[in-house]
Amino acid sequence: MINVYEAQAANKRKSALIIGLFILFVTVSVYVISQAMGVYFGYEPGGLGVAGLAFIISGLITFVSYYASDKIVLSISGARPADKKKDFNFYTVTENLSIATGIPKPKLYVIEDSAPNAFATGRDPDHAVVCATTGLLQKLTRTELEGVIAHELSHIKNYDTRLMSIVAVLVGMVALLADIFLRVSFRSGRSDRRESQASAIFLLLGIIFAILSPIISQLIQLAVSRRREFFADSSSVALTRQPSGLISALEKIAKDHEPLEAANKATAHLYIVNPFKEKGHGAVDWLAGLFNTHPPLSERIAALTKMV
């Protein structure tokens, strides 16, 4: 038994911890790789210069997707704007929950797809979009829909799109930097190697980091994503005060095994449940879980049940 406020506070703490860990890891990786690159180039600032370049490239790529996230996602998913008459529950439930969160009502869209799912995106609450599939709107009752929409609105209110974009910039930077380093260091040996022991260690460390850090930073990115899902679940309960609504919604969605056609890898983390559905059971579960954008539904339901 845990009350909503404690669940919220715990999620906030864990979220901050993972993000702190992530930033620390990225800083250390960038430092080590650029030092090693400095050794390779023969002068210190060389590596940091490349790191800066990697940051700018990765930032530019992500900035476009961040700034236009609402438009890009919608053009991919092929959604139509929601209508108050046609989608009465969807429209009014979002309207009501926006009152409770104190954010402006996001733009609403409907995807014609029988797989029940929903997602939220947009760089800030003023440019937010909530999108639901027709399958979700047909299968859920009003109370269940409230749970799902409250989850999505929490993503918007907590600036999750912004957070995940920043994380993506850093992951991209590490990947680029490692890639550049591995390319230059393996191409051909330099002729005048006048290395001290310290720089030899940096070179070795640099290679190890260049190989491992893109994978590790991506794993931490996914851990951040999963933590934000738990956070949005508990925020949803804080808003509706009816954990049962979200629980039965998640159960209904879990029973449905249809994959969502409109989803792709780039947008997967935005949905209320993983649109590709979880596969695999038993021993590989834990390993597969590390690569998931969403925590397993059973774990989410268990966390919500504690709040009842």
Partner: protein, 193 residues
């Protein structure tokens, strides 16, 4: 050393400003959220006459319900004019109380059940009740945030300096029947269909 001290002082100053801003902006937001309750009640009061006229033909023989609805609407109008959160909440509850009798009326008249007009009425009434409930939730949440920050360290230092009062939020009686459970309420209710 001196720069370190100056740095710490500047950071502390910034923190005090941020905390001060939290408290004053919270107060303004709470005021706005109270107005939002009024806004929603006003919407409800405007909506109901239209809904009434659209279903009156179907429910001509259920006059009592419409009288109750009209009464609830008037109560809301006066509550909004008074600007008192508590009166607004009471008036909203009055309307919510009419809903079950309307449900019964619909159930007593099976020919109405399939009617779109009546389904629409029920939807709209539930929605308007939800809107007011969520508007109240915002007042409750904002005041709870404010009151927690007022008493917890370290923001309580600033709050004490400013001599901030605890805000009431949604006024609910701290004594009374709703905090006690009677003998019959301990029994699990049996639903007879």
């Amino acid at each position: 050393m001196i720069y370190l001290l100056i740095g710490i002082l500047v950071l502390a100053g910034l923190w005090v400003i941020a905390t001060y801003n939290f408290f004053v902006s919270s107060k303004t937001r709470i005021k706005a959220s109270v107005q939002e309750i009024g806004n929603q009640l006003k919407r409800q009061a405007d909506l109901i006459p239209n809904l009434e006229s659209s279903v009156k033909g179907y429910l001509a023989h259920e006059k009592g319900i419409f009288e109750k609805l009209t009464e609830a609407r008037k109560a809301i109008a006066t509550a909004v004019d008074s600007g008192n959160v508590q009166k607004m909440a009471d008036a909203g509850a009055k309307l919510a109380a009419v809903l079950p009798s309307l449900t019964i009326a619909v159930e007593d008249n099976p020919e109405l059940k399939g009617s779109d007009v009546v389904a629409k009425l029920m939807d709209e009434l539930r929605d308007t009740a939800d809107k007011i409930m969520y508007a109240r939730r915002l007042v409750i949440d904002l005041t709870a945030d404010y009151n927690v920050r007022r008493v917890t360290m370290p923001s309580s230092l600033v709050a004490n300096l400013l001599k901030l009062e605890e805000l009431p939020g949604l006024i609910t009686p701290t004594e009374g029947k709703h905090l006690k459970v009677s003998e019959e309420e301990t029994e699990t209710p049996k639903v007879k269909l």
